[in-house]
């Protein structure tokens, strides 16, 4: 089980990887989304916000999310560190992503662009 701080750190690593990628920022400049990242085994909620191509991370839940990512703390930390791809935990039910299919594909793409396969 990962701690809330580990999830925070993994999200910051994700943010760092994202912000280093200028191409990704240009590609996402018209994709403004609020993403809730929530652990289901510990009390831990974070908000990822994409605005004008810039990614920011906050602790806590947003008033309203376009996309919700729910998994156990270990999966979330592994996912945002890029240790695992989202596909396998998504297909076996460990990871739940609530949102439109296009948004899910875009999140998968961002993770791919930051961490590779």
């Amino acid at each position: 089980m990962a701690s809330h701080e580990e999830i925070t750190a993994s999200l910051l690593a994700f943010q760092e990887g994202y912000n280093k990628n200028e191409r990704l920022k240009i590609m996402n400049r018209d994709w403004d989304r609020v993403v809730l990242v929530q652990a289901n085994d510990i009390p831990s909620q974070h908000t990822l916000e994409l605005r004008n191509g810039e990614l920011s991370v906050r602790e806590g839940a947003p008033p309203r999310a376009d996309l919700t990512v729910i998994a156990d703390s270990e999966t979330l930390a592994d996912l945002f560190y890029g240790d695992i791809t989202p596909t396998e935990p998504y297909m076996n039910g460990t990871l739940k992503i609530i949102g439109s299919e296009d948004d899910i594909v875009r999140l998968d793409f961002i993770s791919l662009m930051i961490w590779g396969e």
Binding site: E5, A9, L12, R58, G93, K96, I97
Partner: protein
């Protein structure tokens, strides 16, 4: 919690019913009537709807246990095993492509009836190009438009049915004598096709204003569809000769012309276009995303996971569905054997519903302590009956149609072999091997600039 719970019961019903209503549904409705004597199609359709309510209850419980857009791939994987789940999912997606092929053929026939100068092939290719273009650009059909199409369509069908029944003075011939048990079983089995896709609404489970709305919406959608289909089919068979309806790939146009003349044909063309656009779009979205997700987990070659850098849509998967759909449509156009696809979908859907019933029983045994916000009442009665009845219906369709059993069996064997022999090779060839965990030391959130809200 900040979940975006915005969808209401109205939209859940519209989505569930809208995915189900298609131009090819009218062909299936006439098929149902063709099995039976007199005006008894309503009896078979309502029975099919009632059985689908059992399946809808099972899907509600499965979705409550495992709320995920991965759907049957996840339910069957947890209940049985991953290989069976993968084989059934791949086969199901192949059949959905077949349904899209049959749908394009029926819609092309409808449009050709209105504008005979344009050959059906032109309509088919144009429709595929439009829907494929929309999907590659990521254009969505909005929820409000979906509501408008679905409720407008159901209302129009009811109005047309009542006009037709009014014209014949509500004179029905033997509405309660179907003419034999075997004929009735076959009619119910094909009648299941009328409800194909109602369960595709389950991924909305956590976007609705209340968690029970998806199960309630599915049940109401199946109930509403049963009434609309039953009335419309009885009206069709009461006002047109059964031979003329069965012989036409677009029986709804024959019916509309008989009842209202050219105005009826125009009305029906608009209705068929509305019915097909949601079915086409839903079919293309679900199959292409399934292909994309399968390629991302190396079940299919990685080329299928390529995304458009401009629109962020899986263009290779979408073009693959386009190519497969056009090929299927061309074969149907050449052979006119669209009914095989309708029966194939009915059989496959029956298999999936039977497995859903078994999956509920199996998951209750395997994971008795698992959180389950919705359970089908009455113990294992409904899941067991659902499994038994739909297994029987699948056998009935296959027994009466040699080609359906042949195609389904061949598809299952090929995909079983593929899952057992090819998928492990693809996984070992493409799946990346990570040397070790890259977990970094824990950073202090305040130092790293993460805001607290």
């Amino acid at each position: 919690m900040g979940l975006k719970r915005v969808l209401t019961l109205r939209t859940v019903i519209a989505t569930s019913a809208g995915l189900t209503l298609a131009s090819s549904s009218f062909v299936a409705a006439v098929q149902v009537a063709g099995f039976l004597a007199g005006d008894t199609a309503w009896l078979a359709i309502l029975t099919g709807g009632l059985l689908c309510l059992g399946a809808a209850s099972c899907f509600s419980e499965l979705n409550a246990r495992l709320p995920s857009a991965a759907g049957i791939r996840l339910y069957f994987s947890r209940a049985f095993n991953d290989r069976l789940a993968l084989t059934v999912s791949l086969l199901y997606m192949a059949v959905v492509m077949g349904v899209v092929g049959a749908e394009s053929y029926v819609l092309a026939s409808v449009l050709s009836s209105a504008l005979p100068a344009v050959p059906p092939l032109v309509w088919i290719v144009t429709m595929y190009l439009v829907v494929t273009g929309m999907n590659i650009r990521g254009i969505k059909i909005a929820g409000a438009f979906q509501d408008l199409i679905t409720y407008g369509l159901m209302g129009s069908l009811l109005v047309l049915a009542f006009i037709a029944l009014g014209r014949v003075g509500f004179q029905l011939t033997a509405p309660l004598a179907p003419g034999g048990a075997l004929a009735f079983i076959n009619a119910v089995a094909v009648g299941v096709f009328l409800f194909v896709g109602f369960e595709w609404v389950t991924p909305l489970a956590e976007e609705v204003t209340h968690s029970r709305l998806v199960s309630r919406g599915m049940l109401l959608a199946v109930g509403l569809l049963s009434v609309v289909y039953a009335l419309f089919t009885v009206a069709m068979t009461a006002s047109c000769s059964r031979e003329a309806l069965v012989a036409s790939p677009a029986p709804q146009v024959v019916f509309a012309r008989t009842v209202l003349g050219p105005a009826g044909v125009f009305w029906m063309v608009v209705l068929s276009l509305a019915a097909s656009i949601t079915t086409f779009n839903a079919g293309l979205i679900s199959v292409s995303r399934f292909i994309y997700a399968s390629a991302r987990e190396y079940v299919l070659p990685p080329v299928f996971s390529r995304l458009s850098m401009r629109f962020f849509t899986p263009w290779v998967a979408i073009l693959t569905v386009f190519a497969a759909g056009v090929t299927i449509s061309l074969v149907v156009l050449a052979t006119h054997r669209y009914l095989v696809l309708v029966n194939l979908a009915a059989a496959m859907e029956s298999v999936v519903y039977a497995l859903a019933g078994l999956a509920v029983i199996r998951l209750r045994q395997k994971e008795p302590q698992a959180e389950c916000p919705y359970r089908v009442k009455g113990g294992v009665f409904v899941p067991a009956i659902t499994a038994l009845v739909f297994a029987g219906l699948a056998v009935a369709v296959m027994f009466t149609n040699f080609y359906v059993s042949l195609y389904l069996l061949a598809g299952f064997i090929i995909l079983w072999w593929y899952v057992h022999q090819v998928v492990p090779v693809l996984k070992s060839k493409y799946q990346p091997r990570r040397p070790s965990r890259r977990r970094r030391p824990v950073a202090e959130p305040a130092d790293a600039g993460c805001k607290k809200t």
